[in-house]
């Protein structure tokens, strides 16, 4: 039986294998990791007929250039992504949320994410990889995960498991919605900050800095003034926490964050808005709106229902 194999001709800026992430290891310093945009991850796996926890390639800004070295693949890309396909030496633009069947020597050139950050590449059957601590997700900083905890690199080759159904042809209509506000809940040190700063946080725009990655998103805007203490005793963190160091510029903890931190927590992004937050590229702005816990719980239910509906259309 011929193998299905791809080779990485260009690695892209931050291309890693991800799945739904890794539970139960915060106490040893390992964060969840996993796909940053959970909804797009779930959609792309379903499109190619995979289980919901199969590994996919996540890329940021510029994605990889991949070539089929042996066999065939069925793939799909999710997100807001510009990419080209070279099939039988003919070049054409690819569409997101649609499956394609390619053969030996064909290529996929993932050029860029449009007005967003992350995109996903899934193959039918999934990649042949090993799990580490129960998950395929890569945590580069701890060298944990499949591919020895590393990003994809040039000339690496990956095997793809046997394709059960060669001619899956699926697509859905989905537009990555933009939101006016990222909704937040009060953090555990909310009262450390001046009324004026709380007002700024919930009414002014904040610029997403270039120093943002899978670990954290740094913001710039009105300086957030701490009236009490600029350091707290180190304690646990979760993704979505907005910390404010002494310089007054907020940092939002993202999926690969350090598990312990010592800056005051002014607020936390609600679970329902996380996918949207992380798709905001550097140079764009975000606005925050303070809501209550019950509302956040209801918004999460709504978010889950929307995701289920989308998955059911596939």
């Amino acid at each position: 039986m011929t193998k299905n194999k791809i080779i990485v001709l260009r690695e892209g800026i931050n291309s890693t294998f991800q799945d739904l992430g890794r539970d139960n290891f915060y106490h040893i310093g390992l964060p969840f990791s996993g796909a940053m945009d959970k909804r797009n991850y779930l959609i792309v796996n379903k499109l190619v007929g995979n289980q919901h926890n199969e590994a996919v390639i996540e890329f940021a800004y510029q994605g990889p250039l991949l070539k089929i070295e042996e066999g065939n693949i069925n793939f799909a890309i999710s997100g807001d992504v510009k990419f080209n396909i070279k099939k039988d030496d003919k070049l054409f633009n690819g569409q997101c949320y649609k499956t394609y069947f390619l053969s030996e020597n064909d290529e996929i050139d993932i050029i860029s994410t449009n007005k967003s950050v992350y995109g996903y590449f899934a193959v039918s059957g999934g990649f042949e990889l090993n799990k580490n601590f129960g998950s395929f997700s890569t945590t580069v900083r701890a060298n944990v995960g499949s591919n020895n905890g590393n990003k994809l690199s040039k000339n690496e080759k990956f095997l793809i498991k046997h394709i059960k159904n060669k001619n899956i042809s699926k697509n859905i209509e989905y537009i990555n919605s933009k939101v006016e506000y990222i909704r937040i809940l009060k953090g555990t040190n909310f009262d450390y900050f001046s009324d004026e700063s709380i007002n700024d946080l919930t009414s002014k725009k904040f610029l997403v800095s270039k120093l943002s990655d899978r670990m954290g998103m740094r913001l710039q805007g009105s300086k957030i003034k701490n009236m009490k203490e600029t350091n707290i005793r180190s304690e646990g963190l979760i993704k979505g926490v907005i910390q404010v160091p002494a310089d007054g510029d907020p940092i939002i903890m993202l999926s690969d964050h350090g598990t312990i931190g010592g800056y005051p927590k002014i607020a936390v992004v609600i679970s329902a808005d996380y996918d949207k937050l992380i798709q905001t590229p550097p140079g764009n702005t975000v606005k925050f709106k303070l809501i209550e816990l019950k509302e956040a719980e209801n918004l999460y239910k709504l978010y889950q229902m929307e995701t289920e509906n989308l998955l059911n259309q596939i």
Partner: protein, 227 residues
């Protein structure tokens, strides 16, 4: 023993065990952590014990803040001040100039000779309050009163892997090369975090005791050859 539980975002419980940092309060945190971990309560995804807090993250599809809060409040743990399965781990450390990156600063600021600093550091048994920030990094305490110093004014961009550092009442070991501002007084060749060992990836766990012993540069270089 938990003073109060509040929410941290919509999918985590923030359990506060008191404002002070000492081994008694931290021992309570660790006992709760181990007890909850064993119970396998539905919906819990992660537990992060620290000096005086325990953060419990959960899956919003399976539970919610109010329900899980009740379950945690119902847990009854005796106030006996002991941790089960406590281990004592011995860590070799090389304190040659090339590894003791901040020994001159420590000597100057603490007004102690280099020899005195190493002696005071090596003479004590330490307690592991928590592990984290990066994988496997242990937060140890308490160091001798005379060794306490603030962090570097300008943190290093790269602290070498294996570096042993001190600040305030604490000591730690950098399990990966990373940025950091602790005062470095030596380096261990021992592997503290092993991602290939999935059952016991961390050598030092919360509640463990740690002793350091000095090794020469020769022993340091040969340390990993023995295996």
């Amino acid at each position: 023993m938990i003073k109060n539980i509040s929410n941290l975002g919509d999918a985590s419980l923030y359990c506060n065990f008191g404002d002070k940092i000492n081994q008694r309060i931290n021992t309570n945190v660790i006992k709760y952590f181990k007890n909850i971990q064993k119970k396998k309560i539905k919906g819990i995804k992660n537990l992060t014990p620290s000096y005086n807090k325990l953060i419990i993250s959960f899956d919003l599809d399976l539970t919610n803040f109010e329900d899980l809060k009740k379950k945690i409040e119902d847990i009854n743990i005796s106030d006996e001040n002991e941790i089960k399965n406590q281990k004592t781990i011995k860590i070799p450390i090389c304190c040659d100039d090339e590894h003791a990156l901040d020994i001159d600063r420590l000597s100057l600021k603490l007004k102690l000779s280099k020899k005195d600093i190493f002696k005071k550091y090596l003479d004590k048994e330490y307690f592991c309050y928590m592990t984290g920030f990066v994988a496997g990094m242990p937060f140890l305490g308490d160091i001798d009163n005379k060794l306490r110093l603030e962090r570097l004014e300008t943190p290093r961009v790269k602290v070498p892997k294996g570096s042993v550092g001190i600040t305030e009442q604490f000591a730690n070991i950098y399990t990966f090369e990373s940025p950091g501002g602790w005062n470095i007084l030596g380096n261990t060749p021992l592997r503290i975090f092993d991602q290939k060992n999935e059952t016991e990836p961390t050598l030092i766990n919360p509640g463990d005791k740690v002793l350091f012993y000095q090794i020469s540069k020769k022993e340091y270089l040969k340390f990993n050859d023995k295996k």
